[in-house]
C-alpha cells in the first residue's frame, strides 16, 4: 500500500504545484472554488478516457505517440500559465487591493477561472491517465486488494494535497501585496520548466535536436532522484543533465512569460477603458 501511495504521490505532486500556484494567483476572485472542482472532475474524466486509449496512443506515430501526447499537453499548460500571468499583470494587482465591487471582481475574474479550470484539468488528465493505467492493472492482476488500492491512492493524494497546501499557504503568508508577485514569479518558472520538459519529450521522439547533450551535469551536487531534486523539478523544472535546447527553451519561455507579466504596468493602466482609476 505504501508503494502505491508513493507512486500516486509522485504523479500528484505536479498537479499540486500547478493548483497551488494558480489558486494563489486567483485569490480574491469569487466562485473560483467551484471552477477549481470542475477542473479536477473534468481532468479526472479525461484521465479515464486517455487511459482507455492508452494502447492506441502508445502505438500511434511509430511508438512516439506518448512522447508527443505529453509534449502537447505540457505545451498547452505552458500557454495557459502564460495567459494567466498576462491576465494577472492587468487585473490581478487591482483585485489584490480588494477595492472593487463584487460585480466587477466576478466580471474581471471570469477569464482566469476558465484558465484555472482548464489548466488544472489538463494537469490532472496527464498525470491521472498514468495512474489509471497503473491502478487498474493492479486491480485486474488481483495481487492487491481493492482496499489496498484505495488506501494507497488516498495516502498519495492526501500527501500531494498537503504539499500543495504548504505551497499555497506559504505564498499567502507573504502578505496581500506580495502574493501576486510571488505567484507570478513561481508560475513563470513553472511554465519555463514545463516547456523544457516538453522539449525533452520532443527530443525523445526525435522531433527536436538536443544540440549539446548534456550541456552541464549537476547530478553529483543535486541528484534528480533526491527529495530536493524532485521538489526543485516540480517547482522550477530542475534537471541535472539538460540538453542545450532545453536550456534555450527554458530561457526563451521564461523571458516571454516575464515580458507578458512584468512589462511596465503603467501602459496597461492607461489603455484600460476604466473610468474609476
Amino acid at each position: 500500500m505504501i508503494q502505491i501511495g508513493i507512486v500516486v504521490f509522485r504523479e500528484t505532486l505536479e498537479v499540486a504545484v500547478v493548483a497551488a500556484l494558480l489558486l494563489a494567483a486567483t485569490r480574491g476572485i469569487p466562485r473560483r472554488g467551484p471552477w477549481f472542482l470542475i477542473g479536477l472532475a473534468g481532468g479526472g474524466a479525461g484521465a479515464g478516457i486517455v487511459a482507455l486509449f492508452a494502447e492506441a496512443i502508445t502505438e500511434a506515430l511509430a511508438g512516439r505517440g506518448q512522447d508527443l501526447f505529453n509534449a502537447t499537453v505540457l505545451s498547452l499548460t505552458v500557454v495557459m500559465v502564460a495567459w494567466t500571468i498576462a491576465w494577472m499583470r492587468t487585473h490581478g494587482a487591482m483585485l489584490a487591493k480588494e477595492a472593487k465591487s463584487t460585480g466587477d471582481r466576478i466580471r474581471e475574474g471570469q477569464a482566469p477561472l476558465y484558465l484555472l479550470a482548464i489548466t488544472v484539468g489538463v494537469a490532472v488528465m496527464r498525470d491521472g491517465s498514468e495512474l489509471v493505467v497503473f491502478l487498474s492493472a493492479l486491480g485486474l492482476s488481483g495481487q492487491v486488494t481493492a482496499a489496498g488500492i484505495m488506501g494507497g491512492f488516498a495516502t498519495g493524494v492526501i500527501a500531494g494535497t498537503i504539499v500543495g497546501a504548504l505551497i499555497y499557504f506559504g505564498i499567502l503568508r507573504a502578505g496581500i501585496k506580495s502574493i501576486f508577485q510571488i505567484a507570478a514569479i513561481l508560475l513563470a518558472m513553472l511554465g519555463a520548466g514545463l516547456a523544457a520538459q516538453a522539449a525533452g519529450f520532443l527530443i525523445s521522439a526525435g522531433w527536436l535536436p538536443p544540440l549539446i547533450d548534456p550541456i552541464w551535469n549537476t547530478s553529483a551536487i543535486l541528484p534528480d532522484e533526491s527529495g530536493i531534486g524532485q521538489t526543485a523539478h516540480a517547482l522550477f523544472g530542475y534537471i541535472s543533465q539538460p540538453s542545450a535546447i532545453q536550456v534555450i527553451v527554458y530561457v526563451a519561455v521564461l523571458a516571454a512569460i516575464c515580458w507578458l507579466g512584468f512589462r511596465s504596468p503603467a501602459v496597461s493602466a492607461a489603455k484600460r477603458p476604466h473610468p474609476a482609476e
Binding site: Q3, I6, V7, R10, A54, E55, T58, G63, Q66, D67, N70, E130, V133, F134, A137, L138, S141, G200, F201, I203, S204, G206, P209, P210, L211, D213, P214, S219, D224, E225, I239, S240, Q241, S243, I248
Partner: protein
C-alpha cells in the same frame, strides 16, 4: 543588438543538422532489456561510451510499467506484453546511468554503465 541575437540563434540552429548528422554517422547500437516479474533483465548493462544507443525495452509481464530514467530523460508507460524503443545520446565514459520502473520501484531498478 536587437537583431543580432535572433540572427545568431538562427545561425546556430542552421548549423545543427550538420552536427547532428556527424554524430549519427554510426548506426546506434541496440540494447535489449526485458521486464520480467517487475525486474529488469539484465539489470546492469555495460555499453560503449560516446556512441548513440537504441534501447529496446520489452515488458514481458502482464501488468504495465512506466520505464523511466531521469538522467536519460525517458518517461514512458509500456503496457503488458509490449515493447518500446528509446534513442539514447552518447554516454560519458565511466559514468553510470540509472533507470527504473516507476510502477514497481522496489524491484525494477537497473543501470547502464558506459565503458
Amino acid at each position: 543588438m536587437k537583431i543580432r541575437l535572433p540572427v545568431f540563434l538562427l545561425l546556430a540552429l542552421a548549423c545543427t543538422p550538420g552536427l547532428a548528422l556527424s554524430a549519427v554517422a554510426a548506426e546506434p547500437m541496440e540494447i535489449h532489456i526485458t521486464i520480467k516479474q517487475h525486474r529488469f533483465e539484465p539489470e546492469k548493462i555495460e555499453v560503449p561510451a560516446g556512441q548513440r544507443l537504441k534501447l529496446i525495452v520489452t515488458n514481458a509481464d502482464a501488468t504495465p510499467e512506466e520505464f523511466e530514467s531521469k538522467v536519460l530523460r525517458i518517461e514512458r508507460v509500456i503496457l503488458g506484453g509490449q515493447s518500446a524503443t528509446f534513442n539514447v545520446r552518447p554516454l560519458n565514459k565511466g559514468q553510470t546511468y540509472k533507470f527504473f520502473g516507476e510502477f514497481h520501484e522496489d524491484t525494477a531498478q537497473g543501470e547502464l554503465t558506459a565503458k
